[in-house]
Every structure is written in structure tokens, then in C-alpha cells.
């Protein structure tokens, strides 16, 4: 049995229907545990105080903002190469989720920046790149909404996603070039000495897993909705023709 069988809508609906409750409850449990641990059971940072706890939402949403785009990129490629409709619809479904994650990362970043940097917004390369990423998400969703023919919309948005990915990387590089920035480096570095304390790290891992599961559950749910919408449209078209 090949992986591509899941590209059949019927097969996908069957499997995802079974998977969705598990993914959703796993996401809920992991998030409750991770956020609870992070918010209530970790010490406050000796410099930043309680505001460091934004970390448990900020880092996972920022991570998912990028991962969602990568998932859309892969799904778009699958659509362009193999013409699997589920793939195109999964990319469409991931768009608003990714945009929300990006917005969450930006807002939590602002909430964190206000007490720590003394300003809600800095024109820092990382922050700016996320703002540009958010614009990419908005454009992607707007293009899906604007084109009536679903196959054409899938083609156009997939092409935009490919080209956009290249330009997103270029923008990130350009932003580095443009300003040195004050955002701290990678939060989870493998180099010893730069690692954050284990007391912060483990609840953060749990939160990251929770947001991954949340993303999976939301994308499954939204893809199922999109497939149902497409079925409805096909049934209506068939009735018009008959």
C-alpha cells in the first residue's frame, strides 16, 4: 500500500476522521500540561521577571509560523507534480492556521518586548521577517479567495507559494543585511553554554509538541471541511447539469 492512497479523498476522509479526535485531544492535553507547567511551575527569570513566561507561547507559535509555510510548500509541490486534490486543499487549509500562528508570534513578541526592550516593536530582522511572512500568508489566502475555479486557484496559489518561499528566504537575508537587530539568537541552541536552563527547557519542549499537535488537528479539521465543500459544489454542479 502506497502513501499516495491517502491522496484519495474518500480514503483521506476515512483515515482523518479516525485520527482527528486523537490528534485534538492529544493537542489539548499536551498544551494544558505544557502551558500549565510553564506558567505556574517554573521560576521567574532573574532579569526579565514573569514576562519571560510569554516564551511558552511565543517560541512555539513562531516555530509553527515557519513550519506551516513549509508544509504548504510541500503540499503545493505535491499538487503541482501529482495533481492530488487533497494536497491542494491541505495547503489551503494550512494558510489561515499559519497566518494565525504568525500573528500570535508577533503579538506575543510585542507583549514580551514592551517590558524587556521598552518598546512594542523594533525594526529587527527577525521581527521584520515575520511581518513579511504574515504579508505572504495574507496574499496567499486572498489569492485563494479571489479565484473562482478551484483548480485554477490551487495552481495559482501553489505557484505563488513556490515563488514566495524563494523571496521569503531572500527577504530574511536582506533583512539581516539591513539591520543588525536586538532579538536574541536561537532560543534552543545545541551548543553548550548557550542553552537555557532545563527548568525552562522541558516545559518549552512540551509546549512545542502541543502546538505541533494543535496545528495537525486544525489542518486535518479544515482539510475535511474543504473536501466537504468541494463535494457539495460537485453535487450542486451535477444537479444543475441533470
Amino acid at each position: 500500500m502506497s502513501l499516495w492512497e491517502y491522496a484519495n479523498p474518500t480514503k483521506f476522509m476515512e483515515t482523518s476522521g479516525k485520527l482527528l479526535p486523537w490528534a485534538a485531544s492529544a493537542a489539548g492535553l499536551t498544551l494544558a500540561a505544557g502551558l500549565g507547567w510553564g506558567f505556574f511551575l517554573t521560576p521567574e527569570d532573574f532579569r526579565q521577571g514573569a514576562s519571560v513566561k510569554v516564551l511558552y507561547v511565543h517560541v512555539p507559535t513562531a516555530m509553527m509560523a515557519i513550519n506551516a509555510w513549509l508544509m504548504m510548500l510541500v503540499a503545493s509541490l505535491v499538487w503541482l507534480v501529482r495533481r492530488h486534490h487533497v494536497s491542494a486543499l491541505a495547503a489551503k487549509a494550512a494558510g489561515p492556521v499559519g497566518a494565525t500562528m504568525t500573528l500570535c508570534a508577533l503579538v506575543t513578541g510585542a507583549l514580551w518586548g514592551a517590558p524587556v526592550w521598552g518598546s512594542w516593536w523594533e525594526w529587527d530582522p527577525r521581527l521584520t521577517s515575520f511581518l513579511v511572512l504574515f504579508l505572504f500568508y495574507l496574499g496567499y489566502m486572498a489569492l485563494w479567495a479571489a479565484i473562482e475555479n478551484p483548480d485554477t486557484a490551487a495552481d495559482m496559489t501553489a505557484i505563488l507559494c513556490l515563488v514566495g518561499s524563494v523571496f521569503a528566504v531572500l527577504s530574511r537575508y536582506a533583512a539581516n543585511f539591513w539591520s543588525q537587530g536586538m532579538h536574541q539568537g536561537a532560543s534552543l541552541s545545541l551548543a553548550p553554554g548557550e542553552r537555557m536552563d532545563a527548568a525552562f527547557r522541558y516545559p518549552l519542549y512540551l509546549c512545542m509538541a502541543g502546538f505541533v499537535l494543535l496545528f495537525v488537528a486544525l489542518v486535518l479539521l479544515r482539510t475535511r471541511t474543504e473536501i466537504r465543500l468541494r463535494r457539495l459544489a460537485a453535487i450542486e454542479a451535477r444537479e444543475r447539469m441533470a
Binding site: 491522496a7 484519495n8 479523498p9 474518500t10 476522509m13 495533481r83 492530488h84 486534490h85 473562482e148 475555479n149 478551484p150 483548480d151 473536501i227 468541494r230 463535494r231 460537485a234 453535487i235 454542479a237 451535477r238 444537479e239 444543475r240 447539469m241 441533470a242
Partner: protein, 209 residues
């Protein structure tokens, strides 16, 4: 007597907006032959012509034609109002690598209008310009979508004469038209028996079985 068909389709299915509208089409068009597609509005005449022209991929089946043998003319003639008649035609002649536009201008009785902007032409004159474009393509098989729209009696006669001359020279015509084209030997082809039930095209359709 068997001549190789200029255009033939086998088990062709045509989709519009991801929905199959026509299926099981089998027909062939010989050199010197005209085929007029009939069918109510919305049955998929335009979609069929666009598929044959290569603008849309067939949902199923195959289309056989010699390479570079088709010329398509849609509802709209694609002529630029701010360019003169001659400039418009010269562009298409160069795009198709044709030698010149004099023959086409003469055949369509457009010589007196050659230096007029195309935007100032009457509907019938514009249609004649569109037909002149077909002449400069030099392609043998013409795919015409509603070529008689907005033509007066004189232009209709001219259209019939041009199409007749094209057929006599071994060309073929496939036209979607409600009106009579005035071609004596034209074969009518009714699309109604090939109407599809509206199943979605491609793999997505399997989900609805």
C-alpha cells in the same frame, strides 16, 4: 477513398471549471470538410473548442492533429482598438511567421480601412478583421466560436465565401454556431448525446462514486 483526417478525437471528455461537461466524443474532420457543432447554450461548445485549441487539457481521451495545424478564433477577436487594422494584422502575421498581410487584406476587402484604428470599425468590419487574422495564420484547421455573431447580411455572405474558399483549398473548419454558416457541404454535429452527468474531473471524481 481515405484521406488522413486533419483533426480527429477519440473518447474525448471535456471539462469546464473542473466538471466534465461532454464525454465520449468521437469524430474526425477531413481536409476540405466543415463541421458545425450544435447544442443548447452551456452544453460545452466553447469548452470543446478551447480544449481542441490546446488552451485546456482534455479530461480524458485523445486529440490527434498535425502539429501547428490549428488556428483558434474565440468570441472575442483580440484586436487592439488603438492600433490600425494593418498594425493589428501585421502583429499576427509576424507571430505566425507569415510573409505579409496584403492577401488577407484584399480577401477581406479591408484595404481601404488598412490605416484606420481598429477601434473605429463597425461590428461587421471588426469581424472581417478577425477572419483576416485567420487567413494570415496560414493554418489549415480553423476552430471558430460563434463566427456569425453581430454580422449583417453582406458580412455573412463574405464569411461564407471565405470559409468556402478555405475548404476548397483543402482547409477544414470546425465551428460552433447557432446560425447557418451558409456552407453547402457542412456537416452538423449535435453535442446533446455526449452531455456528461456533471461528474468532477480527474481523481477527485473517484470520491463521489
Amino acid at each position: 477513398m481515405m484521406t488522413a483526417p486533419a483533426l480527429s478525437v477519440a473518447a474525448l471528455a471535456v471539462a469546464r471549471g473542473g466538471i466534465v461537461v461532454l464525454h465520449g466524443l468521437d469524430f474526425a474532420l477531413s481536409p476540405g470538410e466543415a463541421l458545425v457543432l450544435h447544442g443548447p447554450n452551456g452544453i460545452g461548445k466553447t469548452s470543446l473548442l478551447r480544449t481542441l485549441a490546446g488552451l485546456a487539457p482534455p479530461a480524458a481521451g485523445r486529440i490527434d492533429a498535425a502539429p501547428d495545424s490549428l488556428a483558434y478564433a474565440g468570441h472575442l477577436d483580440g484586436m487592439k482598438g488603438t492600433l490600425t487594422v494593418a498594425e493589428n494584422l501585421r502583429f499576427w502575421a509576424r507571430a505566425y511567421g507569415a510573409a505579409g498581410i496584403d492577401g488577407a487584406l484584399a480577401a477581406m476587402d479591408l484595404r481601404p480601412l488598412a490605416d484606420r484604428p481598429a477601434g473605429g470599425l463597425s461590428a461587421g468590419q471588426k469581424r472581417r478583421l478577425g477572419l483576416a487574422r485567420l487567413l494570415v495564420t496560414g493554418r489549415p484547421v480553423w476552430l471558430l466560436d460563434e463566427p456569425t455573431v453581430s454580422l449583417d447580411a453582406a458580412s455573412l455572405a463574405l464569411l461564407a465565401a471565405v470559409l468556402g474558399a478555405h475548404l476548397r483549398q483543402g482547409g477544414s473548419v470546425l465551428a460552433a454556431s447557432h446560425a447557418d454558416l451558409g456552407l453547402a457541404g457542412a456537416r452538423a454535429f449535435d453535442l446533446a448525446p455526449f452531455r456528461a452527468g456533471g461528474a468532477a474531473a480527474g481523481r477527485f471524481g473517484e470520491a463521489f462514486a
